[in-house]
């Protein structure tokens, strides 16, 4: 049975994070920018889960598990859900007041 190096999981996480950064920087639609943030949060969660696996693997004794990484991932999800609710409400308000979703046209605080 072939096994997977732990570093591959971290590299996948890094690739997803970089793609999220790219979407955040290059896209102009405010909703897509918001989705890129969610992509970055997901990438970090994958790192947490992989680290938890490695921590328990390195310990060796399997009677007491360290699940702190899982809880961090769980709290990340909770914060992401709250962030999505507030952020989408803000997007709705911006659209109602300006009738645009392009972040280049939302520039009241420029200059």
């Amino acid at each position: 049975m072939q096994q997977v190096p732990i570093a591959w999981f971290l590299m996948l996480s890094a690739a997803l994070f970089v793609l999220g950064v790219a979407g955040f920087l290059f896209r102009r639609n405010i909703i897509t920018v918001f989705m890129s943030i969610e992509l970055m949060l997901n990438a970090v969660n994958l790192s947490f889960i992989a680290f938890t696996y490695q921590l328990n693997q390195a310990d060796g004794h399997f009677d007491a598990f360290q699940v702190d990484g899982h809880l961090l991932a769980f709290f990340t999800m909770v914060v992401a859900a709250a962030e999505a609710a507030v952020g989408l409400a803000i997007i709705l308000t911006v659209y109602r007041n300006r009738a645009t979703l392009n972040i280049d046209e939302v520039d009241s605080m420029k200059n």
Partner: protein, 166 residues
């Protein structure tokens, strides 16, 4: 078998993540993001994080993405207008991001030697019982603070999305 499963779901996640960034229509990006989240849930399951995998599907792929799709439909968001960014951003953006990816990948390789292997099924501590025990003992205070955070988020969302803003 482990390697095959990892490669399948990792490639699905990567392809969908690229699709999130390159698609011009927000609804295509949203559907691709659901693909990323689903395949990540499978990877969590393979790493022994059963509770987090279930929460990923329910909270992320379910609730959060439904909210996104709902807002996209509500605002009738169309294709975004292509726009030339600043010259420096177009010139430097992709190389800088690739450099960031290279640094992160090298760091991961450096931190963990190639013989640190993941054997699926090797960790069985991610069941809801263990998570719940840690959540209500060690992490009780953050858990209670989370409930207040969600309450604030609900009130904030209602206030922001009200009909009249004056």
């Amino acid at each position: 078998m482990d390697l095959i499963l990892f490669l399948i779901f990792a490639s699905i996640a990567l392809v969908c993540a690229v699709n999130v960034v390159v698609q011009k229509h927000p609804i295509s990006s949203a559907v691709s993001l659901i693909g990323v989240m689903g395949s990540l849930a499978m990877l969590y399951l393979l790493l022994g994080a059963e509770f987090v995998a279930a929460a990923q599907v329910i909270v992320y792929a379910g609730a959060v993405m439904v909210l996104f799709v709902f807002v996209i439909m509500l605002l009738n968001a169309g294709k975004e207008t292509p726009r030339g960014g600043s010259f420096m951003a177009q010139l430097l953006g992709t190389p800088v991001l690739l450099g960031l990816l290279l640094v992160l990948a090298l760091l991961a390789r450096h931190m963990y030697p190639p013989e640190a292997m993941v054997h699926f099924g090797g960790f069985r501590g991610g069941a809801p019982r263990a998570i719940g025990k840690a959540l209500f003992t060690t992490y009780l205070l953050p858990f209670e603070a989370t409930s207040i955070l969600i309450l604030i988020a609900i009130v904030g969302a209602v206030v922001l999305a009200r009909k009249e803003m004056d």
